[in-house]
Symmetry: C2
Subunit: 657 residues, 2 copies
């Protein structure tokens, strides 16, 4: 096999790679980290590299012979004129000769900050699985008519009052050897006071479960100690289905248009979860042939499409009218039947879904926030790739789903990036000078010309902050248009003649280029927040509610989001600012609660059926509400609380109050 | 690949085979049937062939170079001097040059007569699985909050009163497509009014189950129509575990002494049953990718060792003191968990076992014969490779197990063979002349010198008859010894100087040799029947019973056994002859009853616990009882009923009455 020399700059890593390998494979083999959000499927465009030598052979400059495979259409759509010459996607370009490559800062991978970190939950411990120590008398000839099975059940009944238990078949196969190995002392793991799902030799106290939240873009697993209730370890990863489609509808389409589409995406998520399982248990045990065996319970939430694909159900029927899901109730599925590598006899508890588009993740939010126990009128906004809303109180709760697009997650934003070191997440803009100050993830200080903070882009919460600040500073007006004739070099025209705001000058960044907020970025955010607001408004109309007592912001970046910025933008109708809470990943909290307390599973089924789903897309008033809600904070609605807040902060901005 | 010419005589079949193939493989490829009880594992010695040409190359006569692979030790132990020269086992000898082979009549395979044929059962139909037709309204947008799952359950509850059903996960995966395929008409198969184990498009009425009886030597499957209760098809085969040991203890030993022994035997029986499944369903459907899918329920009985190996449980603990089984209760195991290729969502119902050595097969006998509903004192004898006894009535029932050995099945008998065409099964001997007449399977007439019946050997029932007749004719005495100085050529000395009785002269047979009953054969039968009798006697002592009201003979050849011959031999204590019944395969009947009526499953669990197991081997009186019971019919016990029977038939035999 022919080999070629490859050099990566600026790290200087070099080595030989086989002919036909991609630059990304070459980089991985040489220990060079290149960003690849999409799992090397040519869809994210984040792995751009610049070819410094070897793009064309000197002798073949005219014929265009390159040391790399020809550029393909999938690449071309990601490469912009401003990227400059010699740009390729590392996942696509194949090495066919010696090359020297420069990896721009923006394409260098940083470890994602887990924005779905687990918070402490206050919930009574009553898990679905429990361990019981048993200590049998060694059998004698008198026991010849009594099997090991029967003697174990007798002990559990007499000592623990557990009646009518059954044995999982796989466990039963090991029973004889395990009992003798432990010299008739053993630990029995019981699921739902019904079934024995593990027998271990000797006395074992530790017991673990995994709560899983599968988002369209991110998956996270919380390993929980079922004795203490504490989270022992958290692992997250990009959803490995991203290459098959960035959003729910494109994945459903993929399943409709490819014979093995469902199967591929199903395998991808199962394999991905198995990776999370291996990583997350490293905290509690050594590697072994079946590291996940220590996990005896698993709860899982996701939206309806992810739910169907995870379970291997055909998702096409939820993608077209009348949008009928396969199942709404919660399910308990043997781990071995679905191929998750935890204890093969354990059950996967799939939380129920509410309606076609409102999934188990929203049920997770519901049982975590428990609006149904409250008198106040609460709006819960769960922000992910889709936005889900819950509105109500103990009398009635409505739910709906809004197509917000991925702007809140930093996608479709020019300098958007995931929440990793270098991402700007806090922004303030001086209304007089229009000069910003900002903080990036990984540094505690505000940026200043004295202290370079190596900004790289903006994560979701940074985008919300900067647009709210631009509005407060008068850089954009309530319609989202840039103000004209501002006396600042920060506002300028981009190559297409459209206005943009420079948040960070090139010398403050680690990417060597100005970080800007474009008119397009502002529009993307307006569309996203407009969809949320309109959804909330329609639900308020439905319930006859004119004002909100409380707003709960949930979702991946929920606990990092600025409540002031959200209110200022008009992501939701007006509300006292001290009654707006960011709660973090409430869907994940719900999964953890169902893991720690089996009563929550019953509650989830009951409440999921009780919540009324409202289809907003087909509501005749939606279009008008959506147009008005695109304004910042809103075209017509009054915001007395926001007005008061801005006045207190000395802002001169005029808001209807 | 080198090829060699092979000719088989007397059929004359000829052809070329690849170098290194065994003679058996060659025979199979040329359509020549050669007997192979053991599945080509060199243990049964039934595939003997004579090499007519090519044993030695002419040029290499002295050096011993042969056209066949060298003879090995496994073969040598099966080849007797009286077999003559040039004998090899076809399963072992490999072809390395041209050969001409003679297949002796004894080695030609005949199709076994299924002695486990199903009889009509009178039992109320109430199977564990039932099919329900459903006819849903096509969903509309109003159903968006109701899944397919929920709408199916609602229909089943409203139309059939079935509440709280669950879906098997595999079924649930197919639900959406199946409902749409049948245009919202479907057939749902429900197990135990609990779980949905199949959904088929459209309306389907047919419903099938399989009742399986796994004996140490023979396996049989009865395909039953669960709507009519009729047996639709029966398939049987040698237990494919035979190569690992002919009896229970040798298989347990095999598992103890080979790391993968359990696994191999487990795979063998699962694969074997899957073969039976494919064959048995050929009656009801075309071949397809999953022919067994039509089977929605399966009940199974076996002895405890076969039970453990089938389930993958380690059998070593039932092979050594204190003989503790893994489980005694019945089990319901998903077909896919054990790898049986019926509907993967269906359950395998494993009937309970009674005690260490008294298995689910005996429970099958118990629920088929229902002694527990009777006032009379009934002895049930289930004869297989082991003998199992049940004694009692509605007040109390005892069970035990006797090591009879395989003599009743024709093994360890010089001319013993399985019940196939050519096997002698009925015998009468004239007490004066000592001349016999007999019938063979496949022919209706008695043999005579005018009508050659091509006898080949004796099957189990024939052996019992001939020994009983020899006793009645005074050829053997009550101790089993041959009478001396009988004036008949039929009684003579064999090569070792031991007496034997010629039942058939060579010219009456198809094997070209006299068929004889040897002193060893008589002894083997005495040991077997003595064990049964002693077992029955100990149980009678235990229950304080002095006489039997009824005797039921069950087992593989149960319905073909002569009740007179059994009583004459003293296989059991004296009983009125019209109260001795042969019922056939009662264990299989029990499996079929549990298949047709789920109440029988509950009854089986209850009664298996209620029956008292008696360990006879450790009973201090066993040895003495056994020695006395070896006599024909018994050393000391009185047989008034037998005495009357013999007197009526004009026999001069003196029996204690």
């Amino acid at each position: 096999m022919k080999k070629h020399k490859v050099i990566f700059q600026p790290s200087g890593s070099r080595g030989e790679v086989e002919d036909g390998k991609t630059l990304l494979e070459a980089a991985q083999s040489l220990g060079v980290d290149i960003e690849g959000l999409c799992g090397n499927k040519k869809v994210c465009g984040k792995c751009k590299v610049r070819i410094e030598e070897g793009y064309f052979e000197k002798d073949n400059l005219e014929s265009g012979m390159s040391h790399l495979s020809p550029i393909i259409e999938d690449e071309i759509k990601h490469i912009k004129p401003e990227d400059g010459p010699g740009i390729r996607l590392a996942c696509t370009a194949e090495v066919h000769g010696d090359v020297k490559i420069f990896v721009p800062e923006r394409s260098r991978a940083g470890k994602q900050v887990v924005r779905k970190a687990a918070k402490e939950l206050s919930i009574a411990l009553d898990p679905a699985v429990r361990k019981y120590n048993i200590d049998l008398a060694a059998p004698t000839l008198h026991d010849m008519t009594t099997g090991d099975y029967e003697r174990v059940l007798k002990f559990l009944e007499e000592d623990y009052g557990l009646k009518g238990l059954t044995f999982d078949f796989v466990v039963l196969k090991s029973l004889q050897d395990v009992l003798r190995q432990g010299n008739w002392k053993a630990t029995v793991t019981v699921w739902m006071d019904k079934e024995i799902i593990k027998v271990e030799p000797g006395f074992e106290e530790r017991c673990y479960g995994l709560a899983v939240d599968i988002g369209t873009t991110t998956c996270v697993g919380y390993l929980s100690d079922l004795i203490t209730g504490k989270v022992v370890n958290t692992e997250s990863m990009m959803n490995p289905q991203v290459p098959y489609g960035e959003d729910v509808m494109s994945r459903i389409t993929y399943a409709m248009t490819n014979d093995d589409g469902l199967d591929k995406m199903h395998r991808a998520i199962i394999d991905g979860l198995n990776e999370i399982i291996v990583k997350v248990v490293s905290e509690i045990r050594e590697d072994g042939p079946d590291p996940g065996f220590a996990i005896d319970d698993l709860t899982i939430v996701f939206n309806t499409a992810m739910h169907h694909i995870f379970l291997g159900f055909n998702p096409i029927y939820i993608g077209r009218s009348p949008f009928i899901p396969a199942v709404q109730n919660s399910l308990d599925i043997k781990a071995r039947d679905i191929g998750l590598k935890i204890n093969p006899s354990a059950y996967i508890h799939v939380l129920p879904i509410e309606a076609g588009f409102v999934g188990a993740d929203n049920v997770g939010v519901l049982i975590a926030e428990e609006q149904y126990k409250q008198d106040e009128m609460v709006l819960v906004i769960d922000i992910g790739t889709n936005g889900e809303l819950l509105l109500g109180n103990r009398d009635k709760i409505c739910s709906t789903s809004c197509a917000t697009g991925p702007a809140f997650e930093g996608a479709q934003i020019k300098f958007g990036m995931r929440a990793a070191p270098g991402a700007i997440e806090v922004v303030q803009i001086d209304p007089e000078t229009k000069e910003p100050k900002y903080k990036v993830i990984g540094k505690t200080d505000w940026h200043s010309h004295l202290k370079k903070v190596d900004a790289k882009g903006l994560c979701g919460s940074g985008i919300i902050e900067v647009v709210a600040e631009m509005f407060k500073a008068g850089i954009i007006d309530k319609s989202g248009r840039f103000a004209k004739d501002l006396d600042t070099p920060r506002v300028r025209k981009d190559v297409d003649g459209k206005p943009e705001y420079v948040l960070a000058w090139a010398e403050e960044t680690s990417i060597g280029t100005d970080i800007t907020i474009t008119q397009g970025d502002v529009r993307a955010l307006q569309l996203a927040k407009g969809a949320l607001y309109a959804g909330a408004k329609l639900m308020m109309n439905k319930l006859g509610v004119s004002k909100l007592d409380r707003v709960v912001l949930a979702g991946a970046f929920g606990s990092h989001i600025s409540t002031e910025a959200s209110l200022t933008l008009g992501m939701f109708p007006d509300c006292p600012i001290d009654m707006v809470y960011a709660v973090g990943n409430a869907a994940g909290d719900g999964a953890r609660m169902a893991l720690l307390n089996k009563g929550k599973r019953v509650e989830a089924n009951d409440k999921a059926r009780w919540v009324e789903f409202i289809e907003i897309a087909t509501d005749p008033t939606f279009e008008k509400e959506f147009m008005q809600a695109m304004h910042i904070p809103h075209m017509k609605d009054k915001f007395p609380n926001l007005k008061e807040l801005l006045q207190k902060s000395g802002s001169k901005l005029e808001i209807k109050g």
